[in-house]
Subunit: 135 residues, 2 copies
Amino acid sequence: MSTLTDADRTAIDALVATLESAWNAGAGDAFAAPFAPDADFVNVRAEHHQGRQAIAAGHTGILRSIYAGSTNQYVVKSARLLTSEVALVHVAAVLDVPSGPLAGRMTALYSMVLVRTGSGWQIASFHNTLEPPAR
Amino acid sequence: MSTLTDADRTAIDALVATLESAWNAGAGDAFAAPFAPDADFVNVRAEHHQGRQAIAAGHTGILRSIYAGSTNQYVVKSARLLTSEVALVHVAAVLDVPSGPLAGRMTALYSMVLVRTGSGWQIASFHNTLEPPAR
């Protein structure tokens, strides 16, 4: 098992930053761009979307409705190689929604499986779970 | 990209059946056995456990307390190779809890990342999300 090089870790951090900035710009297509064409996506409602196009369309929809104007902060909690071509990454998310039915702050933890391609790392799998509200 | 052979799919189905039977026997150690020693596990509360020993201890605890006497039914919804050595699997779970604070039925979707080893597939990553209650 090889370990993540500094270059790999830099690339993974950049990928996460791309997701964050795309979300914060309300840009569903840009959010989906780092995903593989056949990527799997499980959201916080356990809904399973398949394919970059579906992920883009879904995010375009929520970023114009329930999550309009929201901001996400992502922090990489762990990143490691499973094989030389596959990385597993866990990211903590803090989402602030300014208005609407979901107004307020939500926190979540998502995992991603990244596969190394000729043009860099692509997201093959994304899975997200909300933390329960504090009591 | 190679596709899953019938033998691989059979092995993956058997691994999922092992998880299910271990849960239903209330056996935390057996539940954790298919995990890699350094596996990552994210539960439905977005809590992140690392390592087979922690996964075994955590499951021993919940299977003796909040989930005592519960039964899980697992159905593999999709399974595909990400590389020749790594498989991505999504499983639907139906959990029936007979008594206690969580009594009732819960449904969830979990994803697993499996890595091929000399002794078969091992779980490197497990991530679980509850479906919202029906309204």
